[in-house]
Symmetry: C2
Subunit: 470 residues, 2 copies
């Protein structure tokens, strides 16, 4: 014979029936609500039970909103995976008092049977005693209690939600040491996160030229996203930018000014990446054994090789990237901006982010998911702290209203980070709108979302496109 | 390391994350849709797999709607509990052809590597062979297939959704034999279901008088909902209405005219119900051992005793009602109109309806849930075929629009049955609107929902209220 007389449903926050966690930050009270239904008319009581990990459950009361809906909240005071569940039961003490009072109000006097019931319920005493005890008894005694949940909530630190980002290419500024010198000025302007594109050695084979030219000229430095050379791969620093000590000095300068360092995580390799020799099975090959380069037909990216996510050594590949991320965490990196995460498997991200947070729970991950909405949101659900959005291309009022409405719907699991420009995106509005456009777009980015960022040069209204119309 | 690269979500129809079944009728194609996401850009294929009970799975293809959304349908050809699930995989054959054709279109000619890949994928042959084979191979080979579901669908016969009902009190027409004589006329008018309020013996102790007067006068027949007397309880026929043969004759008359019989199922007892003596533990008592009567303070219903759903003999009580329902099923009753189901436990209804359908899968249950929306819908989810609605009180255009919008939202699990009047509800619109109001309300009931019904007298526009303003 089936279960509970009390049925709990429509619990929020809830992402895909609890498959993924809702998101919150340390210091929040997580607002929850649920529909709680039982046959008949007796009053119900309900609480939200909550805990971090396997800690002891605590609880907070829910209040009745009307129409079988209840709401409440619980505080989260530490990063990590929390869970909550709803517990509801009949408040027989309140029910008895309510029925009794309605009868008295209607002038009924033959209440001996009712008072005997009251004594059986409350124990010896009179009406005054019972009224005084009703609230406590109604909380303690939980006849027919039913539970709904548990449901997960991922709690991160505040930086996962709110922050002002500044992006720069360290080679344009003279390397990591020189960048450290501008940290006080960046902090003065209110930036919280300094984001550097890949700082690893850049491949020389098939190196691209300026503005994506197919062949590099002498002296062309190549794309920082073509990762890997004789000097090392994803775990190395390009010696032209500095060394471990320079990175440590930059991290220390940022820390001293209340800022933190974000590195790029771009999971692809130049033809000179050490792993091509050490782990050829991690890369895509043709049937004749030759290595494939990246392409999006008819476009070809001969300076890039993609990893083969269907490799037979999936464990080895995944663990290698875990080691890369942990290596940078240990060097003081607290934020990762992930390049094109939508071209790598979702289960990989879910695993990687959880693994990194086991050891460095403060780590923040920004998803550069400029892709279809279902995939953008799935990456957010799978663990990314925050996500780029299409803000960069949304300039008219109707476009912005639509964007913000969409972000509101996604808000239980996707936190936006709005960028008016990036190294490779300069919208026509900025190319043609002059200083007023730059000011307007910055204010919109900084006020429509708690996280926003700019690419260096924005503050000088640099508005010259690579080509007219690009 | 976690699971599938393909993530299936937002599958419809889906009621409370699959806790309850969606509803369909024999002969339907059940429309389904799902969001299916994988990293990257390779084309996916998907099917819906479906089966009744534990039968072999069958499948139908899904079509791509755009934006990672897929849709399809499957046929249901028998009553019972069905289930469906989504299966999706990468179509590597279509992906290869697509990439190849984009390269050719871009004028690329060095495609030896691509063709070697093609041969590895398709087997020996040329492009023509591969194109011809692509569709079949893409269906047969299912690399990395992922599944979403299964989700339940309860399939009933068409009468669960569509039918015209006529309600009458057989004692006003001269008993069951006399009612059998009017069946041809009812069938002629297009009615599908004849619904009789309780036909059981009526209690005499504390019998109510006319129009709910507290004391009966000599000759008052009492309320048919005060069930049980010396002649028997829920499984007996009031001898004043007829006997088993008369009921069988009525059932046969209905069957001969393509109609069926609906009985009332009212789970309450008069003070003279045989079960009060046989099973006192099934009823509510005060601490002094005295029997409680039904009340909704300050109202008292001294002619009614409610069952104690918290009885220690829950099994006995539930099984007794199962026996009652099966007894009437065996007498040819195929439809039950359930009185006040919202004052009995939801798990009881879920169990009872499933138990009855094991033996009589054609049985239809109508819920008289004039209660809060969350409880009305929960009864529908728990198994009732169809439900009364607030149509009776919705008369203005805005009220009707709101009602129909609400019914549309509920349509995956709640089937409405619209009644312009009932034995105890005659809205002011009908009291004051004359024949035009009766005609208008009948057309609305019959066209806003596939199921509707009237209480006898409606066809003669009987519009005299018990009291002015009642």
């Amino acid at each position: 014979m089936p279960g509970e007389r009390i049925v709990i449903s429509d619990v929020v926050p809830q992402v895909d029936c609890g498959r993924w966690p809702a998101k919150a930050c340390v210091g929040d009270r997580v607002s929850i609500a649920a529909t709680i239904v039982r046959d008949g008319h007796e009053p119900l009581r309900a609480v939200v039970r909550h805990r971090k990990g396997r800690a002891r459950w605590r609880e907070e009361p829910l209040r009745f909103l009307g129409s079988d809906r209840y709401a409440g909240s619980f505080p989260v005071d530490a990063v990590g995976r929390w869970q909550f569940e709803i517990e509801a039961w009949v408040d027989r003490h309140a029910a008895w008092l309510d029925e009794h009072d309605r009868k008295v109000a209607a002038g009924q006097t033959d209440l001996a049977g009712e008072l005997a019931e009251g004594e059986a319920l409350f124990g010896p005493g009179d009406l005054e005693d019972w009224r005084a005890a009703a609230d406590a008894l109604g909380t303690e005694e939980r006849p027919g209690a039913a539970r709904g949940g548990p449901l997960p909530v991922e709690v991160e630190r505040e930086r996962a939600r709110a922050g002002a980002w500044y992006e720069l290419f360290p080679r344009s500024w003279g390397g990591l040491r020189a960048v450290a010198e501008v940290v006080p000025a960046l902090a003065e302007h209110g930036f919280d996160v300094l984001y550097l594109p890949p700082i690893h050695p850049i491949g020389v084979t098939n190196r691209k030229g300026r503005n994506n030219a197919e062949h590099a000229e002498a002296g062309d430095v190549g794309s920082p996203w073509a990762i890997g050379a004789a000097e090392g791969g994803h775990d190395a620093i390009d010696p032209r930018l500095g060394d471990e000590d320079d990175l440590a000095a930059l991290v220390e300068a940022l820390r001293a000014h209340g800022m933190e360092l974000a590195l790029d995580l771009a999971l692809q390799a130049s033809p000179d990446h050490p792993w091509l020799g050490e782990h050829p099975e991690w890369f895509q090959h043709r049937p004749d054994g030759s290595l494939k380069y990246a392409e999006n037909p008819p476009k070809r990216y001969q300076d890039i090789h993609n990893f083969d996510w269907d490799t037979k050594d999936r464990k080895g590949l995944w663990e290698a990237f875990r080691a890369v991320v942990l290596r940078w965490c240990e060097a003081g990196v607290t934020v990762f901006r992930v390049d094109n995460p939508h071209t790598k498997p979702i289960p990989f991200w879910e695993w990687l982010i959880a693994e990194v947070r086991k050891r460095h729970p403060e780590t923040v991950f920004l998803s550069e998911a400029f892709t279809r909405p279902a995939l953008t949101t799935l990456l957010a659900k799978a663990g990314f702290s925050q996500s780029y959005t299409y803000f960069t291309w949304k300039n008219t009022k109707p476009e912005l209203v639509e964007l913000v409405e969409q972000l509101r719907v996604w808000s239980p699991y996707l936190r936006p980070n709005l960028w008016p420009n990036t190294p490779d995106i300069l919208h026509a509005t900025l190319q043609q709108g002059g200083r007023p456009a730059f000011e307007c777009r910055l204010v919109l980015a900084a006020t429509l979302s708690p996280s926003y960022g700019i690419y260096s040069g924005y503050e000088r209204c640099e508005n010259v496109p690579v080509r007219s119309g690009s």
